[in-house]
């Protein structure tokens, strides 16, 4: 099947408006006759469910957590971008569009990104109207901060809990519709398969995680807002339950999977402390506004710091290597995430890591304390030369901005970041890749949509900070609810979809078979045993830097691990009860397939772009080397085994932006 991205004709800035003016609509009376399933209740799924219900569709929403409010969007810290230009610093829709395409290393679709930039301003208006308590200045107006990879302040925030506040906003919008009976909410339910009837997505198979019951749910369209697949790496900043199952099952039923190898490794996470580690914790990128990243200049100091004989605060300025400021003077500590992560890896690989494992760099706020403190002392008419006072005043300001992050760091690491610099190291954080969708956010399966992180559409090869929240809400509130009408307009006479069909029988049977096999396997190793092994392969061979040899080995190793998993995994308990090991096993089984496709995609992409860095393709200075012939989206079609997947290419055309070498120097 040829890929048709359905990008509307016309000038870039008018495409979305024109498109909305010309697509089919469903009249309010007919919307009542149409059911839509939304899987996932994060920013994308939650906002989509709420808006579809407001429009009048009957929504059936699903989440595996015990409440829609717990979706992992809640953990996003730093902020949400919008081209409001409230700061008057020259921001505009075009600039947001430009920054996002450039930040994505010219691997995203122009039309989608421009639409995202256009609706970004609506999101802020909408959220404020919903009662989302964004940070404000003393004049009562909204405050902004600056994020990596851009030269303006366009990020709206609510301390270090922006994702939480936005998600609770979407959750409240959902609650309003649940209260009205327009959304039927199914919590503690996991989608196990999508059901295709006559070539169209018409329902899902879900497992009730409390009773173990397998359920059939039908609808006229199915929307996946099921997030990313970074947990393939085992250790990541994702929630423990985040998984690829819904997306992967959709892929196996015909949805192409795009750019699986584009993974974001976030530069500022708390380093791994030991083998027992179950997850990694992010420290918001916003910290790079005020923190300076460094390692010691000399190996002897590194040794001294590692054995504890030297404290980082004792090291003189001239003996420190502020490597981001050194390498990228224009953007300094605010380079995009991929660049910052690789630079940290480069220093640590060269032996300058500052903790026992050699995998950590410093994020230091000492100069921010002094800078803010001086300002405060000046404002309050206090002695600007009293260092202790200035430091204390400065710490108060920093505490106001990032208090919860500093507290979190101290709880986890047991060191006070006001006294000693934070230690950070990159960790898997987001996947730009995902299910391929067209301009309408529909996958290659008619009636099956993917929104938010679950799709691939807007971030190219690297996502800029504070853009994930923007995309999730844009898709859910302002894009999908329009575009889905174009498809559903043909379904006004279809009537309710029966779950009593051979397609539902078949899908349920296939889901049940997997569960039976897992429960009765009687192997010797737990699910985590395999998951950790997969994580090691992914991190070591498909991580921040990749090469042909490693990737080929990864493919072999993952294939072997998958076979071992199915032979030897051990699941205690029964299928018809609450059984977390069983749920985990199903998810890991899918990661074991996705991981292979991931490596295959990385192997085929013989260039470096954004989060995908191939050792073989770098400039003499060690920067990513993009190649013109790879200016396409890789969309993979499932053919029975991950290794047999067939590559389809969607060429990326840049008419409104000049494709340049991405430079942050």
């Amino acid at each position: 099947m040829a890929l048709d991205s359905k990008i509307p004709k016309g000038p870039l800035a008018d495409k979305w408006t024109n498109h909305k003016n010309h697509i089919n609509l469903v009249n309010p009376a007919n919307k009542r006759l149409i059911d839509v399933i939304v899987v996932g209740t994060g920013l994308a799924g939650g906002s989509a469910a709420a808006t579809l219900a407001e429009l009048g569709y009957n929504v059936k929403a699903f989440c595996f957590q015990d409440s829609p409010r717990r979706a992992h969007s809640i953990a996003a810290q730093g902020g949400i971008n919008a081209a409001k230009n409230y700061q008057g610093d020259g921001d505009s829709t075009y600039r947001l569009f430009y920054d996002t395409v450039k930040g994505g290393d010219y691997r995203s679709r122009e039309s989608n990104v421009h639409r995202l930039a256009e609706v970004s301003t609506n999101i802020i208006d909408q959220c404020v109207a919903q009662g989302v308590p964004f940070a404000r200045d003393y004049g009562g107006l909204l405050d902004n901060r600056s994020f990596g990879g851009v030269l303006v302040s366009r990020t709206f925030y609510a301390k270090g809990q922006t994702g939480q506040q936005l998600l609770l906003g979407a959750y409240s919008a959902m609650n309003r519709q649940i209260g009205r009976g327009k959304i039927k909410m199914h919590t503690r339910h996991e989608m196990l398969d999508v059901v295709i009837v006559d070539g169209k997505a018409r329902g899902i198979i879900a497992r009730n995680l409390v009773t173990g019951e397998i359920e059939r749910h039908s609808a006229h369209a199915v929307v996946l807002g099921t997030g990313g697949y970074g947990n393939a790496f085992y250790l990541s900043t994702y929630a423990m339950g985040s998984n690829v199952t819904a997306a992967w099952k959709a892929h196996k039923r015909g949805a192409y999977f795009a750019n699986p190898c584009y993974t974001q490794i976030h530069p500022t996470c708390i380093p791994v402390s030991g083998d027992h580690q179950s997850k990694l914790t992010l420290m918001s990128e916003s910290l790079r506004n005020d923190g300076r990243i460094w390692v010691p200049k000399h190996k002897k100091d590194v040794e001294a710091i590692r054995d504890g004989s030297l404290k980082p605060t004792q090291l003189a300025e001239e003996d420190r290597d502020y490597y981001l400021e050194r390498r990228y003077p224009a953007f300094g500590n605010l380079v995009p995430r991929d660049v910052a992560s690789r630079a940290a890896k480069e220093r640590c690989d060269a032996g300058y890591g500052v903790n026992k494992t050699g995998e950590a760099v410093y994020l230091d706020f000492a100069s921010a304390f002094m800078r803010y403190g001086k300002e405060q002392a000046h404002v309050k008419g206090l002695n600007e030369d009293d260092d202790a006072l200035v430091r204390k005043l400065g710490q108060e300001i920093v505490k106001n901005k990032y208090g919860n992050l500093f507290q979190m760091y101290e709880k986890i690491v047991d060191q006070n970041p006001y006294e000693t610099p934070m230690m950070i190291y990159p960790a898997v954080h987001y996947t730009m890749g995902g299910i391929w969708v067209d301009y309408n956010l529909m996958t290659t399966v008619p009636g099956l949509y993917a929104i938010g992180e679950a799709n691939f559409s807007d971030h190219g090869a690297n996502r800029l900070g504070a853009s994930a929240l923007m995309q999730g809400l844009a898709d859910g509130y302002f894009v999908l609810p329009y575009t889905i009408g174009d498809y559903l307009a043909h379904d006004i006479r279809t009537g309710p979809i029966s779950t009593d069909s051979k397609e539902f029988d078949e899908a349920e049977k296939s889901a049940t078979e997997i569960i039976d096999k897992l429960v009765n396997n009687n192997g010797t190793h737990s699910v985590d045993y395999f998951h950790k092994k997969l994580g090691k392969i992914m991190w070591n061979k498909c991580g921040m830097a990749r090469n042909e040899k490693d990737l080929k080995e990864a493919i072999t190793e993952i294939t072997e691990l998958r076979a071992e998993f199915w032979k030897d995994v051990k699941i205690p308990g029964e299928a018809n009860e609450y059984n977390e090991e069983l749920a985990k096993a199903g998810r890991v089984a899918d990661f074991l397939e996705l991981g292979e496709l991931f490596a295959k995609d990385a192997l085929v992409r013989e260039e470096s772009a954004g989060g995908h860095f191939r050792d073989e393709y770098q400039t003499p200075e060690g920067e990513a080397m993009r190649r013109k012939e790879f200016q396409f989206v890789s969309a993979w079609e499932f053919k029975g085994e991950p290794k047999d997947a067939v590559l389809h290419k969607e060429d990326l055309v840049y008419e409104n932006i000049e494709v340049k070498e991405r430079s942050y120097k």
């Binding site: 992992h72 609510a158 997850k279």
Partner: protein
Amino acid sequence: MNLTLKIWRQKSAKDKGKIIDYAIGDVSPDMSFLEMLDVLNQDLIEKGEEPVAFDHDCREGICGSCSMFVNGQAHGPDSMVTVCQLHMRSFNDGDTIYIEPWRATAFPVIKDLIVDRSAFDRIQQAGGFISVNTSGNTQDANSIPIEKENADNAFDAATCIGCGACVASCKNSSAMLFVSAKVSQFALLPQGQVEATDRVMNMVKQMDDEGFGNCTNTGACEVECPKGISLENIARMNREYLSASFKG
């Protein structure tokens, strides 16, 4: 370090549960409490026993999934943390640790340490929202300035993660802190004024219908709340409710 764990085990909502003792060794002080339980669970699985079921997801203190009563306190002895951020350095070698689910009639046990907190969702559905459609045609976000103090207080109230530690800690299993956090968030914002009367009446009614107890102002909720939600919110809800009642 070596520890003795006394954990509530209950196969399902219908079964009777009891405390079972487990010994665990080699616990590192850098482990989180849940990672310590992971180790226990891996041992149990290896031995062919069922692992201890508990709710957890983000493991960074924000999703509000975790719900354990550790040694007589919601989320354990450390303050301002959820149990996923509680680290083993808070305990000593040889300690005995009680691990129980939240106890409240409105939070029935599903399995082991997992309880059903859907009552919280139903309270939110009764009025925890502002009725504005997501049409994108709302007025500009900066058209209504909001006094910084009110905006900050609204934010502080809005940081509630809905974990239920307030209910678990309260000797009366009262949900007032949870409900008041939402009521306060909207009461402090101009956008929330329009529906203020109905909101507080409906949410409190739902709270009562769910079978939560009555607040007696012991303040335990505030102390145990991992997000430090203040009792002032309960006072504000009382005011809102009383003035709404007198309005009729």
